[in-house]
């Protein structure tokens, strides 16, 4: 009871701080100095119409590499925590044989409508994901968003066709190759252009074209593939079959 009162008091204090923040808030009427630097020089220096992409991929590219690393570590952590405990699962199968059969033996198949819709829509969802990360420098979107769309396609597949199999080898290969190429592009930036992950290792091209803004489409393609496959692997790990008998 005392704990409850303490929690409520703490929340009330937080609320008080927040109310003060909200009442003293005045909307910005102009950009900060950093923001206006990016708005003025971003399109010229980086060649990407989407300024958020210019900041994420080029100006703060090192942070994005760190972000990709964090995502990789968390995907690896999920893989470690939910790894297949084959022998233990077999032991428990013997103990609770009938229950295990009930859960693993009879996967209730999705209806024909769902299966057909999946077959029809899945390529489109994947294509949309690719579109989003390829156009990351031109429109709202980018590698992370495109990767999330690809992973949502995988989720779709896992829900509609639970028997479908995702190749661990393919996931591991794509992930490590794209991560490695990302770092190689970063190092090439040091050698050929102004610094780590500088996108001017390729020509900036015509402003607003699909293949413009130097290495940004390439980097976002790699990030999109990496994130898409990583999140797909995480979703696959959370499947019932993989976590042993529940």
């Amino acid at each position: 009871m005392i704990k409850r009162i303490f929690i409520m008091m703490m929340l009330a204090l937080m609320a008080l701080i927040f109310v003060q923040l909200a009442t003293n808030y005045t909307e910005n009427t102009s950009l900060t100095r950093l923001g206006s630097y990016y708005a003025e020089n971003g399109p010229r220096e980086v060649g990407a119409p989407n300024l958020v992409t210019a900041v994420v991929v080029t100006y703060r590219g090192l942070d994005t590499l760190g972000e990709v690393t964090v995502l990789f570590i968390s995907a690896a952590g999920v893989g470690l925590l939910l790894r297949r405990t084959r022998r233990k699962a077999d032991d428990e199968d013997l103990e609770t044989g009938d229950r295990a059969e009930e859960t693993t033996g009879t996967h209730k198949a999705a209806s024909e409508i769902v299966e057909t819709a999946t077959e029809l829509l899945l390529p489109m969802v994947m294509l949309f994901g690719v579109y989003v990360f390829l156009n990351g420098h031109l429109s709202p979107g980018g590698g992370f968003q495109g990767g999330a769309i690809i992973a949502s396609g995988t989720m779709f597949l896992l829900l509609a066709l639970p028997e479908s199999h995702i190749s661990r080898l393919l996931v591991a290969l794509t992930e490590s190759l794209s991560g490695f190429s990302y770092v190689v592009i970063g190092v090439l930036g040091v050698i050929m252009a102004g610094g780590f992950l500088d996108n001017r290792i390729m020509g900036l091209g015509t402003y607003g074209d699909l293949f413009s803004a130097g290495a940004i489409p390439l980097i976002y393609t790699l990030v999109g593939l990496k994130v898409g496959f990583e999140l797909s692997a995480v979703l696959d790990r959370f499947r019932k079959d993989d976590t042993g008998p529940v």
Binding site: A22, N28, L31, L34, V55, E67, L71, I73, L138
Partner: protein, 126 residues
Amino acid sequence: MSPIADIPLSLIVLCSGLGLVLIGLWGMLTQRNMIRMIIGFSLTDTGIHMVMVSIGYVTGGTAPIINAAVPMSEAVNRVVDPVPSALVLTAIVIGLGVTAVMLSFAVRIYKARKTLMIDECTESRW
């Protein structure tokens, strides 16, 4: 004009975000079910993202994409701050990773103890 129309747009987003942070904190502190605690974390996370986006808003600003709609010469006066947006993009991805790891811990604990209530795991405390 009605008084509601005078409230700046970003203030509404800011207040919703702060409200979500409070709801999430309440959920994390009072709920005993681990899944509900993780949902509380997600709410706090989303609330913080909304606060950050609202702080980057500039009155009358549009998306920071410099193309035919926003010519380069007018960019400085017409776009919102791209830096908080980029920061939120990073924060969403990190939040997703943290949530995934928390959920897999919950799955592991459920497998080992057949319960999701945090009160029944007190012997794991140090």
